[in-house]
């Protein structure tokens, strides 16, 4: 077991909320607006629920035959001229990437957003070995310049105001600290990144999906930055988690209809790119990464988390995430998906995370691949309780709820009534902010005929601040 310090999300969230009257309400408002766009998109597609069910089934089928599909993917990608590498863990992934770069004499690398490369802590590893690594996604680059990890898996710098970005660019790039127009700031980064795309010896991407049938992998972006990185430098390296496989090309119709609608309330991302072998005149390396995934696959209570397509909808809908900010989780993955993924990397370090939730179930309701997120959060609490990792915060509140906690049936009843939502969440997340309808309306949904999410949607819109 790790002897690292426990991540303390409640304390960190409190800092985010108490910092000023600007950051936390803005964060909450943006993500809520994203959620409303997602809801409108979902409502406009009659087969939405059927698509979610299909996506879930396709992923379940793939994960229970993953060895077969990985071998099929490898064979087809190899046939098309890609070089396939296998990495058991983060260290091996980083070593493989480094050795490819070294053998090509690459000193500068431009990359697009990849949560897997974040998970592997690849950038510091390469920088320590003399390779310059530049993020090309605007939000990711903002975070890199600020020395922070991404705070959201889709919107990495969503917790920052335009003023924060203007001041950061002024410090790091020398622009006018008082010009905080997002158009200006985006243009600054475009002009800053262009020469780097042209100078880079390699481009790196992640992969949103890998198609076994054809040996193709897919990358979705809005900026087109992954495409520049893949099409300009002579060398393209992609890091892909082994859980990203889908069997057939036609499966992508289901997943792409769900992904961007769930993530940002748009029908697609601006660019949905398919790479099958190297481009004309280029070289392509694919690193298939396990890093705990095959072990997670054997956990009957938690393997469904491997279905995740990293859309971020569970974060946007989560009342605790929206108010905490992603950095509060102190982990690569934040929000509800982070709560169920992070403990599989380090149970002790992330033992607080399952308590950073209201168990309201909203995440489960919106997840496009139907992961039972809130049930898994509850199960992780039991794991932590069994291991004796008592939550740092609100021990009293927790103890008061202990009776229900020790009696799952009773807990279920309470949960159905919407009770534990307020019972378990750290109070300051719920009450201390006059602008938040969550805190303003202390009435519990009675009777709880609707799901919690339905109640919350109705309740929130009454306050009409969006």
């Amino acid at each position: 077991m790790s002897n690292t310090k426990k991540a303390d999300p409640a304390a960190a969230a409190e800092l985010f909320i108490l910092r000023d009257q600007v950051h936390e309400p803005m964060h909450d408002r943006f993500l809520w607006a994203t959620m409303q766009r997602r809801d409108a998109q979902a409502a406009a597609i009659p087969e939405w629920e059927e698509l979610r069910e299909l996506a879930s089934k396709i992923k379940e089928h793939t994960l229970t035959h993953l060895d077969h599909y990985l071998e099929e993917f490898e064979a087809n990608a190899t046939k098309r001229g890609a070089h396939i590498h296998w990495a058991i863990d983060a260290a091996e992934h980083n070593t493989i990437v480094h050795s490819i770069l070294e053998s090509h004499g690459v000193k500068e690398l431009i990359k697009s957003k990849s949560m897997l490369q974040e998970e592997c802590q690849m950038t510091p590893f390469l920088q320590n070995r003399g390779i310059k690594v530049i993020e090309s996604d605007l939000g990711e680059r903002i975070q890199q310049l600020d020395g922070q990890p991404p705070s959201h898996i889709v919107f990495p710098s969503i917790h920052k105001t335009r003023r924060d970005v203007a001041q950061l660019f002024a410090r790091k790039i020398g622009t006018d600290p008082n010009n905080d127009d997002p158009h200006f700031l985006t243009e600054v980064m475009r002009n800053n990144a262009r020469p780097r795309f042209l100078a880079a010896g390699a481009g790196m991407t992640g992969g949103n999906f890998a198609i076994a049938e054809t040996g193709t992998f897919m990358v979705c972006t809005n900026e087109g930055n992954a495409d520049i990185g893949a099409s300009v430098p002579p060398l393209h390296i992609a890091s892909i988690g082994i859980e990203k496989l889908v069997p057939r090309v036609e499966d992508m119709g289901v997943f792409l209809r769900l992904l961007a609608r769930s993530a940002e309330g748009e029908p697609l991302t601006q660019y949905s790119s398919h790479f099958t072998g190297p481009r004309k005149g280029g070289e392509l390396h694919i690193v298939l990464v396990d890093n705990g995934r095959s072990r997670r696959l054997g956990m009957p209570d938690f393997w469904h988390s491997l279905k995740c397509i990293r859309c971020g909808a569970c974060m946007n809908t989560c009342p605790v995430y929206r108010r905490s900010g992603g950095l509060a989780y102190g982990a690569t993955y934040s929000g509800p998906i982070g709560v169920i993924l992070d403990p599989t990397f380090d149970e002790f370090k992330y033992s607080e995370l399952p308590f950073h939730s209201t168990l309201c179930g909203s995440c489960t309701d919106v997840c496009p691949v139907k992961i039972d997120i809130s049930d898994q959060i509850f199960k992780w609490r039991r794991v932590m309780a069994k291991k004796g990792y008592l939550p740092l915060v609100k021990r009293l509140a927790f103890a008061a709820a202990g009776r229900a906690f020790g009696h799952p049936e009773e807990f279920r009843l309470m949960e159905e009534a919407g009770g534990p939502a307020l019972g378990y969440a750290p109070d300051f997340l719920l009450y201390n902010h006059s602008l938040n309808p969550w805190g303003r309306d202390r009435q519990l949904p009675q009777p709880a005929k609707k799901t919690f999410r339905e109640w919350y949607l109705a309740n929130r819109s009454e306050h009409g601040n969006d």
Binding site: L54, H61, D67, H183, Y271
Partner: protein
């Protein structure tokens, strides 16, 4: 060799873990054909393209495309074309290295088909000739046959041939970002604008 053994370790780990799971689905599920309202696809395509930040134009001739091009991009110095209809100032077939495209003001390409539910067009390496033309060009002009529009992504993937191209992209409007205060800005890294001209091939 290190990678061979890692491969075996990972595959064995998966097989071992799979022993704990119930294999509910022996086959991947069938994807049904979803019924579509019988509405014309072109207007739907145009609405979604506009939402994505692109603009559609009805034209009747190549000459009209060239006139509109001059109005849209009067300052363009380098116009790089991947279509036989329009010469531009540079033929992409004469480009050997993607870096040569760094100065392109306007790229001109023909998409194979469009998707009504999103306003996206499908572009492959064969259409772009040099992939980077689609991403380094400051602005893009896309020619599209108005009869080549499919309804949704299911129909789109029936037409996509990933076994025949090393690169293919559904491109939905120009490059965009909302990374500063969730404010939408076009032209983050890729094309700043995307204009689609409805014109069947000659």
């Amino acid at each position: 060799m290190e990678t061979t053994s890692s491969r075996e370790v990972i595959l064995k780990g998966i097989r071992y873990s799979n022993l704990f799971l119930i294999k509910q689905e022996a086959e991947a599920p069938q994807i049904p054909v979803f019924q579509r309202a019988d509405t014309p696809l072109k207007p739907e395509f145009e609405v979604h393209l506009q939402k994505a930040g692109g603009v559609a134009h009805d034209v009747s001739s190549v000459a009209e495309v060239e006139t509109k091009l001059a109005v849209l991009h009067p300052e363009a110095m380098v116009i790089c074309s991947a279509v036989p209809e329009i010469a531009g100032t540079r033929k992409v077939t004469e480009v050997h290295d993607p870096h040569e495209l760094a100065d392109v003001d306007v790229g001109i390409v023909r998409a194979q088909f469009g998707v009504a539910e999103s306003g996206a067009v499908w572009l492959t390496q064969e259409d772009l000739v040099v992939d980077a033309l689609g991403f380094l060009s400051q602005h893009l002009i896309v020619l599209l046959d108005p009869n080549e529009i499919v309804s949704d992504m299911h129909a789109a993937y029936l037409r996509v041939r990933l076994d025949e191209t090393a690169f293919g992209c559904f491109m939905m409007g120009p490059s965009a970002t909302a990374d500063v205060e969730a404010t939408l800005v076009h032209g983050a890294q890729g094309a700043r604008s995307l204009n689609i001209f409805f014109l069947p091939p000659m």
